[in-house]
């Protein structure tokens, strides 16, 4: 079995991270912002798996499981908040919900 070179996977992870970050900055719909964050979190998870593979340790994959778990917890609270946001502002656009300023 040929192994995939380390740097290629790292580049992929970095690209995914960038895609997520750009999505987060560009999209104004709060759903898409949450999805972009998922992409960023998973790219970090991918980087952990690569790092674990480099040292032949399971730690990277363990960390990946923790990341998935935490992302699920975060999304569940996020979705509850989005429901409240929609009831209050009748929109999912985060720019509309921007009364705190000063």
């Amino acid at each position: 079995m040929t192994s995939i070179p380390l740097n290629q996977v790292l580049i992929l992870a970095a690209m995914l991270f960038t895609v997520g970050l750009v999505g987060l900055l560009v999209r104004r719909n709060v759903f898409f912002m949450l999805m972009s964050i998922e992409v960023m979190l998973n790219s970090a998870g991918l980087a952990f798996v690569v790092a674990g593979a480099r040292w032949g340790q399971p730690d990277g994959q363990v960390m990946f499981l923790f990341i998935i778990t935490m992302a699920a917890a975060e999304v569940s609270i996020g979705l509850a908040l989005i429901l409240r946001l929609y009831q209050q502002f009748k929109t999912l656009d985060v720019d509309a919900a921007s009364e705190l300023q000063g």
Binding site: L10, A13, F17, G20, L21, L24, V30, M33, L34, I37, M40, L41, S43, A44, G45, A47, F48, V50, A51, G52, R54, W55, Q57, D59, G60, V62, M63, F66, I67, M70, A73, E74, I77, G78, L81, I82, R84, L85, Q88, V94, A97, S98, E99, L100, Q101, G102
Partner: protein, 480 residues
């Protein structure tokens, strides 16, 4: 895992047991007073458990956690702070319509997260502690969710905190890639790294700093702080300002006790830039605010900039002076936000500067407590804030960080202006005959708490030595 391993974790176990108890009791019987008492009892018991945990230290419990004197001190700080926040929340919660009990559950969970952060020695425990803390905070910020601004503040915090967490995780993964270990105390071997590895490590640590800088609300990662401070219920703001930031700062100290940070290195320069921006930016932005919670948010940005001065000094005074300052800052914040919390109710927060006109006439006690807190934030005698700032500055002087010290001085002078503006407003008479809003009576309970805190802060300012000696005996050995 033996019985000897469990003893150092006793405070953590007691706290977790309290969480389960509170959850189960809430499921069977909703009684605000009962849950409140249980929460306080649990926190007191975990503080009482600290001496039992401090035999035969330092001790690693699994590779994930390490309990040493430093950890015991910071655990005590986090637990005691959380205790005071809960005490000051009761009256506010009484006025909340709907369920009150989950507030205590979430506060305890967030405290657990902070405690795990304080004793973590591994990226996994760091991450788990941080997320336990953050996810509880998302829910706490939106706690009285039918009021305006709560949901907005919570969503802002959630989106930005989650993005910061991904930066943090990516940074961790790069550090792991280079070091081959996620344990802090095995990361010290910087020598013998190839150029590529060194580059990856620099990127990794920079991304780690984005995450930590966000949690501590350092410029330029501070955008969330004013909005969240303003939008969250007052007791939750107190929690964010004290327990959450204190826990993360303890972790920062521990992490960089293992990863050497030499004066003048690239990473050090970035930290120095962040510190200067925070000190100057935080104070300048605070001047234009008219909302006291926002003023305190910007002020906390500046104060964590001050803390970084000692952090960057990297000498024998650093850890003890930072710890002293953090203690003084936490007491000060508890008083300031405590006063706001006892005067607020969920529908109308006591936060606009105009509300404070005539406070001295209506609530002599609360006004004096607030002024003591403001004096300490400014760094005027006779308060702990002044002594703390002197300690920070002396750490900076020992390493000749003149630029940072100049920023500290400039920041303090700007601070003088807006803190005193609030203080003066408190003593001014209200416009017209009737005050703009009738402040609610403050319970004797809350008054006593604030009184004790204020006395403590003044005592700290007059005789700082006992605390300083305690700190030196407990935190000095870290990383040594």
């Amino acid at each position: 895992m033996t019985f000897q391993d469990l003893m150092p974790l006793l405070p953590l176990l007691v706290l977790s047991a309290t969480i389960v108890t509170v959850m189960l009791v809430t499921a069977f019987k909703r009684n605000h007073r009962l849950i409140f008492s249980l929460t306080l009892l649990g926190l007191v018991l975990s503080i009482v458990a600290l001496p039992f945990a401090s035999h035969g230290l330092p001790r690693s419990v699994t590779p994930l956690l390490v309990v040493d004197q430093f950890a015991i001190f910071y655990m005590g700080l986090v637990l005691a702070t959380s205790f005071v926040v809960v005490l000051l929340s009761f009256n506010y919660l009484e006025k909340v319509e709907g369920n009150k009990e989950e507030y205590y559950l979430l506060t305890l969970l967030a405290t657990l997260g902070a405690v795990v952060l304080v004793i973590s020695n591994h990226f996994i425990s760091f991450f788990l502690g941080l997320e336990t803390l953050s996810i509880s905070l998302y829910a706490l910020i939106a706690y009285t969710r039918f009021e305006r601004h709560r949901v907005e503040a919570a969503i802002k915090y959630l989106v930005l905190a989650a993005a910061a967490s991904s930066f943090l995780l990516f940074g961790m993964s790069l550090a792991y890639l280079v070091f081959g270990t996620m344990q802090f105390d095995q990361m010290a071997s910087l020598g013998g790294l190839s150029t590529v590895d060194l580059g990856l490590l620099t990127i990794g640590l920079a991304m780690l700093m984005v995450g930590i800088g966000f949690k501590l609300a350092l410029v330029p990662f501070h955008m969330w702080a004013p909005d969240v401070y303003q939008g969250a219920p007052a007791p939750v703001t107190a929690f964010v300002a004290t327990v959450s930031k204190g826990g993360i700062f303890a972790l920062l100290i521990r992490l960089f006790a293992n990863i050497p940070l030499t004066v003048g290195s690239n990473l050090w320069n970035v930290f120095a830039l962040i510190a200067i921006l925070s000190m100057v930016g935080g104070n300048v932005l605070a001047v234009i605010q008219t909302n006291v919670k926002r003023i305190l948010a910007y002020s906390s940005i500046a104060h964590f900039g001050y803390l970084l001065v000692a952090f960057l000094a990297v000498n024998s005074l650093s850890t003890s002076s930072m710890t002293f300052y953090l203690v003084a800052y936490i007491i000060t914040s508890l008083i300031a936000f405590g006063v706001i919390a006892v005067l607020s109710d969920p529908k109308k927060e006591f936060e606009e500067l105009d509300d404070y006109r005539g406070l001295f006439r209506q609530h002599r006690g609360a006004a004096i407590f607030m002024v003591v807190a403001l004096l300490s934030l400014t760094g005027l005698p006779p308060t702990g804030g002044l002594v703390g700032k002197i300690f920070l500055a002396s750490a900076g002087v020992q390493s000749s960080l003149w630029l940072l010290l100049a920023a500290l001085a400039i920041g303090s002078v700007i601070g003088l202006f807006y803190y005193l503006r609030v203080a003066i407003t408190i003593f001014r008479s209200p416009e017209g005959e009737t005050p703009p809003w009738s402040a609610p009576p403050i319970s004797r309970f809350a008054n006593a708490t604030l009184f004790v805190l204020s006395i403590g802060l003044v005592v700290l300012g007059i005789i700082p030595n006992p605390l300083m000696q305690l700190i030196q005996s407990m935190v000095a050995h870290l990383g040594g």
